[in-house]
Structure formats: structure tokens, C-alpha cells
């Protein structure tokens, strides 16, 4: 492969590129799903190809192809440079990249159990057993259990001399129970939205999720939820589970700290960020003293971990919020100079045919020193919310509204009843400013989202969020009539 990367880089240089990098990627995926006691989907796929990113005439070009052949490499290199020159017709400034040290290295996420080596019959048998246990109440109408495995072999090489091979294995899964009664339909699921909880691990992650035990609870709670009262509106203290807090953190912190978004490059699609450059290290209060947030792509097994990003920048940790003060962005080689820094290694692309963008790695809320039990006992009038169902946030990541599958009402320090259709709304700094308790390390876990969306064409990508249950004071709950 080294020869092919050299051919591509040389070809791009000959065509006029002043910088080029190539990624050659081979992907493999398997998706298994059972539904209502039957095998629903068994699919597997492979995809390979290469993408060549160039700078010519001071502007970016990118071209890709699934045919990794000498003639095609030359065609793609010429096309990438032609595209860059077309980009230059509109340029205001020359593209400049922060320096990065050239490396020659290999990195492997080292799964304990290769998920593709586990027999498909065994995996389907397991899912069918889980599916049976989801029928835990007479109101259950649809049950579903699914697991997914993804493997990626990736080579990165650049005209600056880097050559990096990475091998990554990712697994995840979820279970669902839909209950219906009296014209109402409710879903209870585990462990997270978006096809479940994912990790940069092998099949051992599926075993750790313990679906067989959780399925009985999920089925039982779905039956209870469909008969539960509607969550009333008003201002309430919220205790948010780690699973849902991961999505809250994702939408209201992870996306607004992407420096390319801050600089306007996503404005044509989903918008910009309220965390503008004037707020960077200027004492801007993102949250309360209890809120410290970091991005760390070195956490072993975490879904957003990596050896090197897609510009060859090594994995690292960056502080984002320090005791409530906003102090850091996720950056790339092109964007980091805007804040006087070099890249902190957050450029990722979804596959060989996409260009890298600034993406979340593992954006995590630092654990506090409470326990969930202590928070509940300390809450006079509140709700304990679990498992995301809906999420919507404005085009600067400021005003948001989230919904969860279930709320448990808390009165005078005890859980009293289950409520359905909870929603809450706030604005980001006010919400994180109301955080007064975060659970400790024992209840802290990195949750893996497999399909964070960004860019055009949409690039779903793996990210992770370390969270523990946390409490937020006097948040607006409910949106009027249902």
C-alpha cells in the first residue's frame, strides 16, 4: 500500500498540489436484528476505496474512488487538483495548515473478542433469547434486539512524510419494547438512542451490556409506561441519567465547540455556534462550578478514541470547560491557528469518500462527588429522566428541547411514580449553570454514539461521552398541551 500512497501523493504534486494527503480505507460491517421473535435483518457489507485531499492554488480539493488502481489514482489526483483550482476561483485567503510532526506508526484498538469471529448463529440465538425476555408485560406489541459490528483498516499518508496504519473495531447494540394500550403507544429501550451504546471494543462490549438481565426490566417498564400519567408542566429540578446526559452534552457542548462550526463553515447547513471566539478564555461562564468538561481521544475502549486523527495528529486530551469557564475548542490544522494553537487532533471523516471535518472525540463531563441516591434524597420536587427520545437545538446550539422515554417523579427525597412523555427546554449556559451536583467515578461511564451527524453529504461518525447522573435546578418542563 505504501507504493500506492506514494503514487497518489506524487501524482497530486505533479498536477500542482502544494499539499496532499490520502486515506485508503477498508470497512466491514455486520448488522443483526430480531423483531417479535423472528430474525428481522442479517446483513453484512464491505467497502473499500481511497480519498485524496489536496491544496492547489491555495484552496482545497478532494476526490475519491472505490477503484484502487494505478490509472484511477492518477485520474483522481488530477480531478482533486482541478477541483482545488476551481475552489480557488472564489478564495478570499490562502489555506494555511498548522504544523504537525510527520510520523510512521501503527495503532490498533485491540478488541478482546473479534465480533466478526463470533458465529452468526450464536449471535442470533442470543438476540432471540433477549427478544423473548422483552415480552415482560401483556401490553407489549413489538420487541426488537439488535447488534452491530464495524471494522475499519485505515492508512493515512501525506506529502509531509506521515504514514500511519490504524485498525479499529467497534460494536454496539440495543433492545426495544413497544407497548400499546387505549390508543397510546410507548417505547422503553436500553441502553441508549441511535441503535444503542457503542464502544471501540470487540464482542466483549455486547457481553458487558448484559441484555438478558436488562430485557426483563425494559419489557416490564414499557407496560407500566403506556399506562403512566402524562408528565405535568412546570419548573422542576431534573436529575438526568448518564445515558441521556450524554446526548445533552453532545448537542449543547460537543457541537458548539467544533471550531470549524464557530468559524462559519457549517452555516449553510445546520448553523454556527454561540461559543464565538470572543468567549474563548475570556472568563465566559458556560456552566456552574460543578461543570468541568474535557475532550479525550485516548480513553481505552471509548467510542471516540483513536490513535491519530485524519490529518495524522496524535490522540490527546483537551480541557473544554474548567469549573464552569469556557477554555477550549476542538480543532483541526486549518482552524487551530484562529485561536493561536496547533491542532488538537479532532479531524475525522466517515469513510474513504468523505473529507475530514472537526468532530467530537470523547467529550466528557468530569465526575463529581455525589451519588445518584444522594441526589434523589436531596431533591424535594423533581424528576429523574432516562433515555433520550427526541432532541432539537437551534442553529447556534443555544435554545434546546429534549424528550426522554420516562420520568420518575421525586417528592421529598423519594421516587413516587412513573410519568410518560417528559420534555424539557432551556438555553445552554443557563441550563449548565443550573447544575449543582454530578455523581462520582463509580457511576461515570463513557457512552458511545455511533452516528453523530455533521457535514454535507451527511457524515455519521462514532463519538463518545463520559457522563454520570447530574442534577439541574428549576428547568422548564413540558410544552403545554398534548
Amino acid at each position: 500500500m505504501r507504493n500506492l500512497t506514494q503514487q497518489a501523493l506524487e501524482s497530486a504534486r505533479r498536477a500542482g498540489a502544494t499539499y496532499a494527503d490520502i486515506r485508503i480505507i477498508e470497512n466491514r460491517q455486520e448488522f443483526l436484528s430480531v423483531k417479535k421473535g423472528n430474525v428481522d435483518t442479517v446483513s453484512s457489507g464491505r467497502s473499500h476505496g481511497f480519498g485524496l485531499r489536496v491544496i492547489a492554488d491555495g484552496a482545497w480539493g478532494f476526490a475519491s474512488s472505490s477503484r484502487l488502481e494505478a490509472a484511477e489514482i492518477d485520474r483522481v489526483a488530477d480531478l482533486a487538483v482541478r477541483i482545488a483550482r476551481a475552489s480557488a476561483l472564489t478564495k478570499k485567503t490562502e489555506v494555511r495548515l498548522a504544523p504537525v510532526e510527520a510520523v510512521d506508526d501503527r495503532w490498533n484498538s485491540n478488541p478482546k473478542i473479534d465480533p466478526f469471529a463470533v458465529k452468526t448463529e450464536e449471535k442470533l440465538g442470543f438476540l432471540l433469547d433477549v427478544d423473548k425476555r422483552l415480552k415482560g408485560s401483556p401490553e407489549i406489541r413489538v420487541t426488537q434486539a439488535q447488534i452491530q459490528a464495524l471494522g475499519e483498516k485505515k492508512i493515512f499518508a501525506s506529502t509531509e512524510g506521515s504514514y500511519i496504519e490504524q485498525q479499529l473495531t467497534q460494536t454496539g447494540g440495543a433492545i426495544y419494547a413497544y407497548a400499546a394500550a387505549e390508543g397510546e403507544v410507548q417505547l422503553r429501550s436500553y441502553p441508549a438512542l441511535f441503535g444503542g451504546d457503542f464502544a471501540l471494543k470487540g464482542y466483549e462490549h455486547i457481553e458487558e451490556l448484559d441484555f438478558l438481565t436488562e430485557a426483563e426490566r425494559v419489557g416490564r417498564e414499557a407496560g407500566q409506561l403506556v399506562k403512566a400519567e402524562q408528565c405535568p408542566s412546570g419548573r422542576r429540578d431534573l436529575i438526568i441519567s448518564g445515558s441521556h446526559l450524554a446526548l445533552q452534552l453532545h448537542e449543547s457542548c460537543g457541537h458548539p465547540i467544533e471550531l470549524d462550526r464557530v468559524l462559519g463553515t457549517e452555516a449553510g447547513l445546520v448553523g454556527k455556534s454561540f461559543l464565538t471566539l470572543d468567549k474563548f478564555r475570556s472568563g465566559y461562564r458556560y456552566g456552574s462550578e460543578a461543570v468541568s468538561i474535557f475532550a479525550d481521544s485516548t480513553i481505552p475502549g471509548a467510542n471516540g478514541s483513536l490513535g491519530y486523527d485524519d490529518e495524522g495528529v496524535p490522540a490527546q486530551r483537551t480541557q473544554i470547560v474548567d469549573c464552569g469557564e469556557f477554555v477550549g475548542y476542538l480543532t483541526s490544522r486549518e482552524t487551530a491557528p484562529a485561536i493561536g494553537q496547533t491542532s488538537n487532533g479532532a479531524m475525522m471523516a466517515n469513510g474513504w469518500d468523505q473529507i475530514p471535518l472537526v468532530r467530537m472525540t470523547n467529550v466528557c463531563l468530569e465526575p463529581g462527588d455525589w451519588t445518584l441516591d444522594e441526589m434523589i434524597k436531596d431533591t424535594k420536587d423533581g424528576l429523574l429522566l432516562d433515555l433520550s427520545t427526541s432532541y432539537s437545538i437551534d442553529d447556534r446550539r443555544y435554545n434546546f428541547q429534549f424528550s426522554t422515554e420516562v420520568a420518575w417523579e421525586i417528592k421529598d427525597g423519594s421516587i413516587t411514580r412513573m410519568l410518560k412523555n417528559p420534555t424539557y427546554t432551556s438555553v445552554t449556559p443557563e441550563f449548565w449553570g443550573s447544575c449543582d451536583a454530578v455523581a462520582g467515578k463509580d457511576e461515570w461511564k463513557v457512552w458511545g454514539i455511533p452516528n453523530c451527524g455533521k457535514g454535507e453529504p451527511m457524515q455519521p461518525i462514532r463519538v463518545g461521552h463520559g457522563t454520570a447522573p447530574a442534577r439541574f435546578r428549576q428547568v422548564k418542563v413540558g410544552v403545554g398541551k398534548w
Binding site: 473499500h48 480539493g61 472564489t90 478570499k92 452555516a267 448553523g271 437551534d394 443555544y398 428541547q401
Partner: protein, 442 residues
């Protein structure tokens, strides 16, 4: 491009690679070009080229699927063997009856040389047109120009043979100042239809009208929805309710409501993959010819769309040609019947309401009841006593689409071809009430 003859020949070779009871091969090729711009300059500019082949092998009531993006003989054979091996591992799926039977496929123009011939320089010039307008107005432009050439070919062992070359193109523009923004968009199978100048002018005019919006307390009130906003709501209504699978599983608002009035009688909604006024596509992802399906007929729930899998689950049903390739069906060429009102008439007949340019980040909250939330974006305007009085800061809404569509005051005369998941031809709508539930700072 592979072309019809070679595509079908390759698929027929694939069908012979297995001894499964039934086999289906689907080949897709794509050449996608996307030129994104921001801060009045191109910042991302890409070309993608790929070909994928999916093999579906059926053994009795077991179905195995394998996909590869290599069309080499050895890789095709491996994928075919993988599909059969996968099928063998399964238990019978009693709901699976058969792959699709051959149906007549009508002619539809899906391919335009004008789109296929668009060069990187052509796309850059379209961007430049918008950026120059923005520069001259002292505004900031962001958006994208796209063009694509795809091929879809499907063959199965029951005799289905379908092939179409498909072109698509589009221009979007978000125009911004420090105190407001505007938006415009155009899409067509034929890039010659794209008028970047007009898109830029519309977005700039909307931005200039939407300066220094006032703070406005949300409530339930009248609403005028532009074409963009209507297309977005229709897309989500389709996603949550027009397919047979959620209908059969009781998750669709149409479930148990056929022949009943579910929304205002001024609304008729249908799907027609053959109408050249839409973005035509003559067959679905099983190679079944598209049929026109009237989904809502003057407010009455009339029908949902089917693929062969969901059709086999109901006695007497046949596929309507709406397979989305995932054992379920989706409408992909929607139309809302136009009315007689102009935009000015809608404004003139509004006592107190909000004019919405478009929505942002819509998400379902309760799919069975079609309750969604989202924000307004790029221009929300207060309408009082028949005239626009001020732009307002963006508002959050939480609303059942079906309920909103049950109180239609006026339907627009002019329709436009727009959409997020699939292109739909829609008019503007004026609704008697819409539930705004929050606000933001800009």
C-alpha cells in the same frame, strides 16, 4: 457510467452465482459532486465515485443480504456466498412470502446531460454568482451547489429487470448579517433549471427583511408556512405515517383511520413517481413500477404506500412500487394539491400570526400522534392585521402535524419542488393555529 446493457448483464451474472430459491441483485453507481461555500468562498469541494452491489438470497422464508463495493468476479462470488450463508443461519420469517414479481415499468425522464456535464468550474461559477451578490450587499453567504449522476439497476430471479440513470442537482444559500439571515433553495434533475442568481436574490431579500428581529413571546397563533416549511413538515409526516409498516404496526397516525377525515378537506396529498413536475423515478428499490397513490383525499385518509414485503402481510394488497430497500415502504415523490391563494392574500387574511421562512432541526416527539418540535430559521415575521410588522427572534414550536393540517385556512397557488428526505412539490399553507412554545436569542 455502466449503462443499461452492462448493468443488467452483470446482475444476471450475479443471479447465476447462487442456487438460492430466489435471488435479487441491486447495483448502484454514484458520481457525486458537492461544492460547499461559507464566508463568501468555497471551503469544501468534493468528488465521489463508487459502485455497490447488494445481493439478497432467499432460501424458503429465510433472507440473507450481503453488500460489496467491488464489482470484480471474485468479490461478487464472495458476496453471493455470504448472502446464502447468512440466509442459512436464519430461522424462517413467516412474514416473508416472496421477492417482487415483475411489473410494467413506465417511461420517465430521469437523466439530463446538462447535469451530467456540470464541471467543477461550472459549480464554482454558480457559487461565485451568489458570493458576489452577497459581497456587494455587504452580507455573508454560505451554502452548497451539488450535482450527481447515479444509476440504479435491479434484477431478480423472478424476472424483474429495471434500470435507470438518474441525475440530480441543487443550490442552497443562507445569507447572513450580524443581525439577521435569509434562505433560498432550488433543486432539479436538470441543472439547466438551476438559477443561482435567483436563489441568491431571494435569500438576500429575505435576509434584508429579517434584520434586528424583536423578542416575541410564543403562543398558539395563526401561521403562514412558506414552501420550504411546508416541504419539511410533509417530509416528517411521510416519515412517521405514510408507509405501510408503521401503519400495520399501529405506529402511524393513519392506523385504523382509513376512510376517516384526518385533516382539513382543503388538503389532498399523493405520491406519483411518474409526474414530470416532481423528480421522476419509474420504479422502486425492488424494481417494481411506481403507481400513483392518493394518501390523503380532501382530508380523508385514503391509503398508505407498500413494498412487496408489507403488501404480503395484508390480504389482497400488492406493492405500489414504494420499496425503500429495507423491507418497508416510503413515499418518495409527494405532491400537495395547490389552492388559489397568493402569498399576499395569505398575509392580508392574517389577523395575528407568524410567517415562517423555514424550520430547523425538527425532531419527532410522539410519532404516532405526529408531534414534533423544532425552531424557525432564517426569517420568522410577525403578521398583524393583514401586514408584516416586524421580524421576530426565532421561535420553538411543539405541534402535531396532523392537528396543524386540520385547520387549513388557505392553500397557495404556486408550488415548488423542495425537500429534505425526498423532493416534494408543495404549495404555501396558511393554518389557523400553530403552537409556538419557546424562543431563542437571535
Amino acid at each position: 457510467m455502466v449503462g443499461r446493457e452492462r448493468a443488467i448483464e452483470l446482475l444476471e451474472r450475479v443471479l447465476r452465482l447462487t442456487e438460492a430459491d430466489q435471488v435479487e441483485g441491486t447495483m448502484r453507481t454514484r458520481e457525486n459532486y458537492l461544492t460547499r461555500y461559507a464566508n463568501n468562498a468555497i471551503h469544501q469541494n468534493i468528488a465521489q465515485s463508487d459502485a455497490t452491489l447488494q445481493i439478497k438470497a432467499v432460501l424458503g422464508k429465510k433472507v440473507g443480504i450481503a453488500t460489496t463495493n467491488s464489482l470484480e468476479d471474485e468479490d461478487l462470488a464472495r458476496a453471493a456466498a455470504q448472502a446464502v450463508a447468512t440466509a442459512k443461519l436464519q430461522k424462517d420469517n413467516p412474514q416473508f412470502v416472496s421477492l417482487a414479481q415483475p411489473t410494467p415499468i413506465a417511461e420517465a425522464k430521469t437523466y439530463y446531460e446538462e447535469t451530467a456535464g456540470l464541471t467543477p468550474e461550472d459549480r464554482a461559477r454558480l457559487v461565485l454568482d451568489i458570493c458576489r451578490q452577497a459581497d456587494q450587499a455587504g452580507l455573508e453567504a454560505a451554502g452548497a451547489v451539488s450535482s450527481s449522476i447515479n444509476e440504479l439497476a435491479i434484477a431478480n430471479s423472478l424476472g424483474v429487470r429495471a434500470y435507470a440513470p438518474i441525475t440530480s442537482s441543487g443550490v442552497t444559500a443562507v445569507i447572513m448579517s450580524p443581525t439577521g439571515s435569509g434562505f433560498a433553495e432550488a433543486s432539479s434533475r436538470n441543472a439547466a433549471d438551476l438559477n443561482a442568481t435567483a436563489v441568491g436574490e431571494e435569500a438576500i431579500a429575505r435576509c434584508q427583511a429579517n434584520q434586528s428581529p424583536i423578542d416575541f413571546d410564543p403562543s398558539e397563533m395563526e401561521v403562514i408556512l412558506s414552501h420550504y416549511a411546508v416541504a419539511e413538515l410533509l417530509g416528517y409526516l411521510n416519515y412517521m405515517g405514510f408507509g405501510a409498516l408503521p401503519f400495520q404496526e399501529g405506529r402511524s397516525f393513519m392506523a385504523g383511520k382509513l376512510s376517516q377525515k384526518v385533516m382539513d378537506e382543503k388538503l389532498t396529498i399523493w405520491d406519483d413517481g411518474l409526474d414530470p413536475a416532481g423528480a421522476p423515478m419509474p420504479f422502486d428499490f425492488e424494481g417494481v413500477g411506481k403507481q400513483k397513490v392518493v394518501i390523503i383525499d380532501k382530508g380523508v385518509a385514503n391509503a398508505v404506500v407498500y413494498d412487496s414485503f408489507t403488501a404480503h402481510r395484508e390480504p389482497g394488497k400488492r406493492s405500489t412500487g414504494h420499496s425503500n430497500g429495507r423491507f418497508s415502504a416510503s413515499a418518495m415523490n409527494l405532491f400537495i394539491a395547490s389552492g388559489t391563494a397568493t402569498e399576499q392574500e395569505m398575509i392580508a387574511q392574517t389577523k395575528r400570526g407568524i410567517y415562517v421562512t423555514r424550520f430547523h432541526y425538527i425532531r419527532p416527539i410522539h410519532p404516532a400522534r405526529t408531534i414534533i418540535t423544532g425552531m424557525t430559521r432564517d426569517g420568522a415575521f410577525l403578521v398583524e392585521d393583514g401586514r408584516i410588522t416586524s421580524p421576530v427572534k426565532n421561535l420553538r414550536f411543539t405541534q402535531s402535524i396532523v392537528e396543524a393540517f386540520s385547520h387549513v385556512d388557505l392553500v397557495g397557488k404556486e408550488t415548488r419542488l423542495l425537500g429534505e428526505f425526498a423532493l416534494s412539490r408543495v404549495p404555501m399553507l396558511k393554518l389557523a393555529r400553530f403552537n409556538f412554545t419557546g424562543k431563542t436569542a437571535h
